[in-house]
């Protein structure tokens, strides 16, 4: 059963929870687990390393007291981890899954590829202000950065130091797949967070917890970045930048000149889930003979060969469904802004395919659908 919602859909009910987003989320998680509404919680928790976090499946409410749902960091993309987990079997209990909007969008796409499903989940998402890069958070000035972030997020602003992908994200609320959406109230008053109940499943869980819609709370939809939001301007600026027509290949070569072929971008991407990547197979392997011949005819050849082949291949495979989470840029050891490239390419590809990743859990993946008249904007 899908929990299809869209931005304009009204929640079934709205509950006011006390505390900022993280606190309210943690409190909700503890109650869901303690009252038996769910059997486990998928969320972030601290690790033994200073200010480093990991994803976890938590069954003990006492341990959940120390968890960090919606902490502004994304060491791993939630959809990658969740799809990986659900891809190996079916849970025997309901799991509350805390997912940021981009993680949920990616998960929706993965479900279409049979990497997971919604049946055993209670999906809790949020209005997202972005995440800080994990290494910045773990830095000496990480605490200060975090405090600044919390302050800015509470006033509805654009926090400094967040991922580039986050600073230009206009999909700050989930539009499909969420049972519950948490959104921190904006303003100087005492911190509170609204819990929007989007599905019957959410209403049932709230009833179990004796949560009541608070009188006087607005039943309006959660809203995403408005027209004046700097995120929109940042996104427009990114889409307007980029190579001139005809300079695409040259600019790719320049962009990936410092690529070390570590494949971290692929390993981090929630949508890249092939057990054996196309670019590790015999089919795409550059034979010694081919390398030697090309080196001969050109005078020199970069090795290992196939740097652009890999990235172009990934662009082709992923751009129809890229959710612009920015995980790729964050993990790149060479500091290549991979996410920028993917965001630009994806905007064009998704517009041509008229496809919005994550918006329609019941729809077919874009390349799996035959339509006789399409892509006319690409023909001469």
């Amino acid at each position: 059963m899908s929990s299809k919602t869209d931005a304009a859909e009204l929640p079934h009910g709205v509950v006011e929870l006390s505390g900022a987003l993280g606190q309210a989320a943690r409190g909700l998680a503890v109650r869901l687990l303690a009252e038996g509404a769910v059997g486990a919680v998928f969320t972030l928790r601290r690790t033994a390393a200073d200010r480093r976090y990991c994803a976890a499946l938590i069954s003990d409410p006492a341990l959940l007291e120390e968890a960090s749902p919606f902490h502004p960091v994304m060491p791993v993309q939630g959809a990658r981890v969740l799809s990986g987990f659900l891809g190996t079997g079916s849970p025997d209990r309901r799991i509350a899954a805390f997912l940021r909007p981009c993680e949920l969008r990616a998960f929706v796409e993965n479900v279409k590829q049979h990497k997971g499903g919604f049946d055993d989940l209670l999906v809790i998402s949020c209005r997202c202000a972005g995440v800080l890069p994990a290494s910045r958070l773990a830095d000496d000035d990480g605490e200060r950065l975090l405090a600044d972030y919390m302050r800015e997020a509470a006033s509805g602003g654009l926090p400094g130091g967040i991922r580039d992908a986050c600073a230009r994200c206009v999909d700050t609320i989930p539009t499909a797949g969420a049972d519950m959406i948490l959104s921190e109230t904006v303003g100087p008053a005492e911190r509170s967070t609204m819990l929007h109940l989007m599905t019957d499943r959410a209403v049932d869980a709230a009833r179990l917890l004796s949560l009541r819609s608070t009188a006087g709370t607005s039943r309006g939809p959660v809203t995403t970045a408005g027209p004046e939001d700097p995120r929109r301007r940042n996104r427009e600026a990114l889409l307007a930048s980029g190579p001139e027509p005809g300079r695409g290949l040259g600019s790719l070569v320049e962009a990936f000149a410092s690529c070390i072929g570590c494949r971290a971008c692929r390993e981090a991407c929630p949508l890249c889930h092939c057990i054996l990547c196309d670019y590790e197979t015999e089919r795409t392997r550059w034979s010694p003979g081919l390398v030697r011949d090309l080196a001969e005819s050109r005078g020199a050849l970069r090795v290992p060969a196939g740097t652009i082949q890999f990235h172009l291949g990934r662009l082709v495979h992923i751009s129809p469904v890229c959710v612009s989470c920015g995980q790729c840029s964050e993990v790149c050891p060479a500091g290549i802004p991979v996410s920028d490239l993917f965001a630009r390419a994806s905007a064009h590809v998704q517009a041509s395919l008229r496809y919005v990743p994550g918006a329609d859990p019941d729809g077919a993946p874009p390349l799996a659908t035959y339509v006789e008249r399409e892509l006319e904007d690409l023909t001469d």
Binding site: A40, F42, R45, T47, A48, A49, R52, C54, A55, A56, L57, I58, S59, D60, A62, L63, P75, V76, V81, L82, G84, F85, T88, G89, S90, P91, D92, A134, S135, A138, V253, E254, A257, S258, I260, G261, C262, R263, A264, E267, A268, I275, L276, W286, P288, G289, V291, R292, A295, E296, G299, A300, R302, V303, P304, A305, V331, P333, A334, G335
Partner: protein, 349 residues
């Protein structure tokens, strides 16, 4: 007396040699880093001597291990003789990869130069020309600051302030003969680097005491890898890890969701993705004997885990068990591929 440092590689001499070898047809290709757009360096297989003016042997940063670049196309010996200009650790790893069936060294001449070390990738990104100073560990990657094997490897080596050329193998000597070049007399005089090597050795020993006390035992290892995000970058940049489908990714080896939920129930929580330690300890078990302590794993780690120092320490232990040195005795089998009836008694009850 101040210790003698490995000199900056005598680029012009080495590139002259490479150009002459190409022009004379003594080699069909030269593997050497070249300057790339934006100032980084990329390994290239060069066949036209004119392209060598963009070459930069032993650049300030080691971004891709030279042995991995070599292995990407030299699994079989076709295409004529090849000259590879490498750091000593890259040559050692090439010898290991040949042992592991990933490179055919039959037509490859491994040439090394004294290595002053590599700056960290982050430094290189900020300043493409920032140079390593072998006398100043703060400019070097952590494993470079501990490295004692920075000179005198391969078939031939250019060593010392004057870049004198020494043939270390019959293959190296034959190659030089073909070019009509007389190598320097005798083996390279390594004693001039004794002071630096001793200082590096002291630093390595101290670091290992620190690592053992900080991260020794199972609980320590768990803490060491607690920031690990499972990106597998350490594995992919490692010159020795050549498997295209790693054991940890095999479909049938993945822990089923039911088992993970059971673990969560038993312990109160289970970390996802699972099996962080299994991956790292498994990698240790698989590559430790061939580890050349190049440190790329640590340099590329997005979570700042000192994985290179740990791998290097473990490798010292495992190779020590067999009296083995990674990169030595080309052509000899790995210790694990050699059956000896009488060994490892210290592990018997």
């Amino acid at each position: 007396m101040s210790p003698i440092m490995p000199a900056f590689p005598a680029h012009s001499g080495v590139l002259e040699l490479a150009g002459a070898a190409l022009a004379a047809g003594a080699v069909r290709g030269v593997l050497v880093p070249m300057r790339a757009p934006g100032g980084s360096r990329a390994w290239s297989l060069v066949t036209d001597p004119a392209m060598l003016d963009r070459a930069d042997p032993l650049p300030p940063a080691m971004t891709v291990h030279g042995s991995r670049a070599l292995a990407s196309f030299a699994r079989s010996p076709e295409g004529g003789t090849l000259l590879a200009i490498l750091r000593p650790c890259e040559a050692r790893a090439a010898v290991e990869l040949a042992r592991l069936g990933q490179i055919d060294l039959a037509n490859v001449i491994l040439m090394t130069m004294d290595c002053p070390g590599s700056v960290p990738l982050d430094t290189h990104r900020a300043d493409r020309e920032a140079a390593p100073d072998p006398a100043d560990p703060s400019t070097l990657r952590s494993l470079c600051a501990q490295c004692q094997a920075f000179a005198g490897e391969g078939d031939l080596c250019a060593t010392g302030p004057s870049g004198s050329l020494h043939a270390l193998t019959a293959g190296g000597r034959a190659f030089l003969e073909k070019l009509g070049i007389e190598p320097a007399d005798g083996p390279p005089p390594m004693e001039r680097y004794a002071v630096l090597a001793a200082e590096r050795g002291r630093r390595a020993a101290e670091d290992r005491i620190l690592l053992r006390s900080e991260y020794g035992g199972l609980a320590g290892l768990v803490r060491l890898f607690s920031g690990c995000i499972g990106c597998r970058t350490c594995r992919t940049v490692c010159p020795i890890c050549y498997c295209r489908l790693c054991f940890i990714d095999m479909k049938d080896r993945r822990t089923p969701a039911e088992e993970l939920l059971a673990r969560s129930g038993r312990n109160g929580a289970v970390r996802l993705p699972p099996d962080t330690l299994l991956f790292h300890v498994g990698r240790m078990a698989h590559m430790s004997l061939s580890c050349v302590s190049c440190g790329l794993c640590e340099d590329a780690c997005p979570a700042d885990i000192p994985v290179g120092r740990m791998m290097s320490m473990v490798s010292e232990g495992t190779t020590g068990l067999f009296g083995y040195r990674a990169g030595s005795a080309p052509g000899e089998p790995l210790p694990l591929n050699t059956f000896l009836k009488d060994e490892l008694h210290e592990f018997e009850d």
